[in-house]
Symmetry: C2
Subunit: 529 residues, 2 copies
C-alpha cells in the first residue's frame, strides 16, 4: 500500500514536470525530399500538443505542401518547378549507367554541385528576404526545428538568436559528429562509402582512415557557400561547424539496431523509425491486391520517392525476375510498363509502403535502401532485397546484409537471375525472416516511442530556451588543446629534461670517477715524453 | 480523426512490445552501504512487475536486510558485525584529523586495503560456497543485477554465463569507462580528486593528465584480488576490465545536471535521482518539528548513513554555528550531545531525509555531498552547504558549487563563523535558491522517470538475454589498433617512402643536370694542368 502510494506520488512528480504551458511557437525550416516526410509526422504531434507551427519553404518544392496542422509560409525563388525536376533527373538515370570509378566520382561531384547551387539559391533568397526575416523576428519563436543537411535553418536560428533542434539522419563527412565534438575512432566505426562493417581487416582500416582524411575536403564545395552567406549575414567569420554546433539537440533518425554501436554525446537523441508509428488501414484497391495474392502473399517493390521510373532495359530485366516468384508483386513504377511484365506484377503510381509492409501477408521488400525504407522494413519485420542507388544507401544495405536481414544486389551488374535468386532466398530461407523479426523486436523494445521522444525534446528546447547543460566544454578548446597535445608536449619536455640532466649528471660523475683514473694513467705517459 | 487513429495504433504497437511474460528470475548481488538503498527501490518496482528476486548477501551486513519484495539468501563469512564496524570506523574519525598530504594518502590506501580485504573475503566465501553456487546455477536466472563497485557480482555472472546489469554511481579510476571503451578526453573531463571543473587552465589540464596516468596503478590493490579469484574460478586469465565489460547495461546513478557533459556509450543509461521518486508523508514527530519552525522553516543536516557522530570539538563548533540562524535545525547525530547545543537544534538518531527535503519549509541542507544526498537536494530544490568528507564527495561538492547551488566548506579547517556565514548565504542570497530550482527543474525534465528507465533496462536484459547489439566492436581491438597506431605508422611509412624517393629522384636529376655542367666546367681545368 505504501509502495503504491509512494509510486503514485513519484509518478505525479514526474508527470507534473512534463506539463507545459500550451501555445509555444515553433519555426520550422525543413529540407525538401524524403527527409521532410518524417519531420511532418513530428509536427503533426506537436500541433496536437497545442503549439503554433510555422513552416518556411520556397515557392517551388517537391514534397512540401500545405497542411492543416501548420502554417506554410512560402517565399519567392528565381527558379521553376521544372528546373528543380531537371536538377534531380540524374538520380533516375545515373545509377543505371556504366561508368568508370573516376566518371562516377566526377559526375557525382558535378551533380551534387548543381543541386546544391539551386538549393543554396533558395537559402540566400530566404535570408535576404528582409520582409520575411523581419516578420519572423517579430513573431518571437521559442525555437527553430530544422534539418541541417542544408544548413539554412541553422543560419536563420543563429541570426534570430533562437535555440535549434536538428532533425536529420546523419550529416555528410561526419559534420554532425565534428560539430558535437563526438569522438569517432576510425578503427571500428565504418566511414560512409567505405563498404566496411565495424569489424575491419588492416586494409579496411587503412581505407577507413584515408576516407576520414579525405572527408575534410569532400564537403567543402557543398557547404562553403553557406559559410560565406552566414559570415555576410552575421558580419563575422562563420564556419559550417560553428553553424551546426549551435544545435541544442540532434534528433537522429537512426538507432543501434541499424547502426553499429559507437560513442555518442548527451545532445544526441536516437529516433530511428519515428515515422513508422503512423499506420492506416489499406485502401480498397490495395486490400484487394493483398487478398487476391492467396497463400503466397505479396512483395513490395519501391525505389523511393525520387526514382519511380528506370531505363527500359533494366525494367525488363527486373520484370522478368519478378515473374519467376509465386508472390504478387506491387511495384511503384510510373514509367512505360515493360512489355514482359508477368501477371503477378502490378504497377502502381504510388503505394502506402509502411501500411503494406505491416500486412502479415507481405513476404519481402525490394528497396533502394534509403534510411526510411530500411526503418519501415525493420519496424514491420520484412526481409529485404536491397538495390542501393546512391548516397548512404550502399552503407544502409551493407548494415542490413551484415545482420542477415537482406540480400544486396548491384543494380547495374545484376542479372534477371540474380534478382530472382535473391528474392527466393529472402522469402524461402527462414533465417532472413527470423533475423529481421529479431531486429524488429529489438528496434521496438524501447522505454519510449521515437515519436514521443522527438516531441519531448523539441518541447524541452522550447521551454528551456536550449539545452546548454548538455553542451560539452570541448567547444571552448582548439583541436590542439582538445587532444592534450600541449600537455603531452609539456610532460614530454619535463621527462626529456629530467633524462638529459640525469644523463649529464651520470656522465659528469663518470668523468669525475674514471676521468681521474684516466688522467692519472695518462699523466705519467705525458711525463715520459 | 485519422491522426488520432494512427497515433492510437502507433501507441498500441509500442506498448504491446513492452508487455512481457511475467515471472522472470533475477539474481541480485549488491554492495552493502548507501549504494544498496537505491538498488532496493528498483527491486521493489521489479517485484511489482512480477519477477522473482533473489538477493545474495553475506551473513554480516550493515544495511542489507530482509524485505517482503525479495528473497534474501545469506551465506556464512569468517567475520563478525563488530569486525565490519571496526573496519569502517575510520570514516567517522579520519576526516576530522589534521594530516599531511602524505599521511592522508598513505592512510587512505591502508584503510581502503583493510576494508577491501574484508569485503573480498566475503566474495571468496560466496564463489567457493559450492552448495550455494550449485543452487544458483540450478535456478536458471534470466540475469544478474549487481553493483560492480566490488566486482563479486560480475564474477558470479561470468561464472553462471548470465547477462549482467550494472548499477553504480561510477567506478574508481574510470574503470567503467575503460571497460565500455568510452572515450574520456582529459582535456575537459575532470578526473576524480582533481578538484577541476570542465573548464581548466593549462596547469589544471596537466594535473588532470597526470591523474589519468596515475589511475592505471591506483586501483590495482583493490581489484587485483578479484582478478586472481576470477582467474582461478574461470580457469583462465581474467582482468578487472574483462569482468566489467561483461555488463550488458550500466545503470549510472548520475545525470548531466550534476555531471559535466561528455561522451557516453549506448550501453550507459543515466538514472541519477532514481531513489528520489519515493516520497512518504512525514511522521508525527517530524511534522511537529516542521510546524513548530514558524516562518523561518527548517535546515536538514546529515553526514550520511556512515557518519552519525563526530569528534566533540568539531561537534561543538558546528553546534555553535547552528545556533546563529533563526531556522530549526534537524541534525542526524547519534553521539553525545554537545553541551552548547542551541534551542533551535534538534538531534535525531535518524531522519527521513528525502521527505524532509521535499517539504516546502526546508530552507537549506547541510550534507557530506554523497551522491545520494546531492540528488535528494537536487530533486527537491534545496540549496546546500557541502562538507565533503572522503571519496567522490569533494568532486560532487565542486560540481554543485560551480553551478551556484551551494557553498563548500573544508570540514577540517572551517570555523564556527564559516559555517554560520555559509548557512546564511545559501538561505538569504536568493541566487542559490534560484539556481537549485533551475537545476531541479532540468533534472526532472526527462521523457521518462529514472525509476521506470532502470526497471525497463533490467527487464530488457532479462528478456533479450543481454544487449549484444549495444556492444561496440572496439572490444575486439587492442589499444594499438583502437587508436589506429598501426594504420598511422603504415601511412607515415608510405609518405616517408614517397618523400624519400622524390628527394632521391630530385637529387639524381640535379646531379644529371648540374653535375654534368660542373663536370664540364671542371673538365677544362683538369685539362689545363
Amino acid at each position: 500500500m505504501t509502495a503504491q502510494y509512494s509510486r503514485a506520488l513519484g509518478l505525479f512528480l514526474w508527470v507534473s514536470c512534463l506539463r507545459w504551458a500550451e501555445g509555444g511557437k515553433l519555426l520550422v525550416i525543413p529540407v525538401d525530399g524524403s527527409h521532410w516526410l518524417s519531420m511532418r509526422g513530428v509536427l503533426k504531434e506537436l500541433q496536437v500538443k497545442g503549439h503554433e507551427i510555422v513552416v518556411i519553404a520556397p515557392e517551388v518544392t517537391a514534397l512540401i505542401q500545405e497542411a492543416t496542422f501548420y502554417n506554410l509560409r512560402r517565399y519567392p525563388v528565381p527558379y521553376r518547378k521544372e528546373d528543380l525536376e531537371v536538377s534531380f533527373q540524374w538520380i533516375k538515370n545515373d545509377p543505371f549507367e556504366k561508368l568508370t570509378v573516376w566518371e562516377t566520382f566526377s559526375r557525382t561531384i558535378e551533380r551534387m554541385k548543381n543541386n546544391s547551387d539551386l538549393l543554396f539559391t533558395a537559402c540566400s533568397h530566404l535570408v535576404y528576404n528582409k520582409e520575411l526575416m523581419t516578420h519572423l523576428e517579430d513573431m518571437y519563436f521559442d525555437a527553430v526545428f530544422t534539418n541541417p543537411f542544408l544548413p539554412c535553418g541553422p543560419i536563420v536560428a543563429k541570426y534570430l538568436s533562437l535555440p535549434a533542434v536538428h532533425f536529420v539522419h546523419g550529416m555528410p563527412c561526419n559534420l554532425d559528429l565534428v560539430s558535437m565534438r563526438c569522438p569517432n575512432p576510425s578503427s571500428y566505426i565504418p566511414r560512409s562509402f567505405s563498404g566496411n562493417t565495424d569489424h575491419m581487416t588492416f586494409g579496411q582500416r587503412v581505407k577507413n582512415m584515408a576516407l576520414t582524411m579525405a572527408q575534410v575536403f569532400l564537403c567543402d564545395f557543398v557547404y562553403s557557400p553557406y559559410e560565406r552567406l552566414a559570415s555576410e549575414l552575421l558580419d563575422r567569420k562563420v564556419t559550417i561547424v560553428d553553424l551546426l554546433s549551435h544545435g541544442s539537440i540532434w534528433l537522429l533518425e537512426s538507432d543501434f539496431v541499424k547502426e553499429y554501436p559507437k560513442p555518442v554525446m548527451p545532445q544526441m537523441v536516437f529516433v530511428g523509425g519515428v515515422h513508422c508509428v503512423y499506420k492506416k488501414p489499406l485502401s480498397q484497391e490495395f486490400e484487394g491486391y493483398v487478398n487476391a495474392s492467396g497463400e503466397h502473399g505479396i512483395v513490395v517493390f519501391s525505389l523511393g520517392s525520387m526514382v519511380s521510373e528506370i531505363p527500359m532495359a533494366k525494367a525488363m530485366e527486373i520484370a522478368d525476375a519478378l515473374g519467376t516468384i509465386p508472390q504478387t508483386v506491387l511495384w511503384r513504377y510510373t514509367g512505360k510498363p515493360p512489355s514482359n511484365l508477368a501477371k503477378n506484377t502490378k504497377l502502381v503510381k504510388w503505394l502506402p509502403q509502411n501500411d503494406l509492409l505491416g500486412h502479415p501477408k507481405t513476404r519481402a521488400f525490394i528497396t533502394h535502401a534509403g534510411s526510411h525504407g530500411i526503418y519501415e522494413g525493420l519496424c514491420n519485420g520484412v526481409p529485404m532485397v536491397l538495390m542501393p542507388l546512391f548516397g548512404d544507401q550502399m552503407d544502409n544495405a551493407k548494415r542490413m546484409e551484415s545482420r542477415g536481414a537482406g540480400v544486396t544486389l548491384n543494380v547495374l551488374e545484376m542479372t534477371s537471375a540474380d534478382l530472382s535468386k535473391a528474392l527466393k532466398t529472402v522469402i524461402n530461407d527462414k533465417s532472413y525472416k527470423e533475423n529481421i523479426m529479431r531486429l524488429s523486436a529489438l528496434h521496438k523494445d524501447r522505454p519510449i516511442s521515437p515519436l514521443d521522444l522527438a516531441v519531448f525534446w523539441v518541447e524541452f528546447v522550447m521551454r528551456n530556451k536550449g539545452a546548454p547543460h548538455l553542451r560539452p566544454a570541448a567547444h571552448d578548446l582548439n583541436w590542439f588543446q582538445y587532444h592534450s597535445l600541449d600537455v603531452i608536449a609539456f610532460l614530454l619536455a619535463i621527462v626529456l629534461t629530467v633524462v638529459f640532466i640525469a644523463v649529464k649528471s651520470y656522465m659528469f660523475c663518470c668523468q669525475k670517477c674514471f676521468g681521474k683514473k684516466g688522467k692519472a694513467k695518462k699523466a705519467p705517459k705525458s711525463k715520459s715524453h
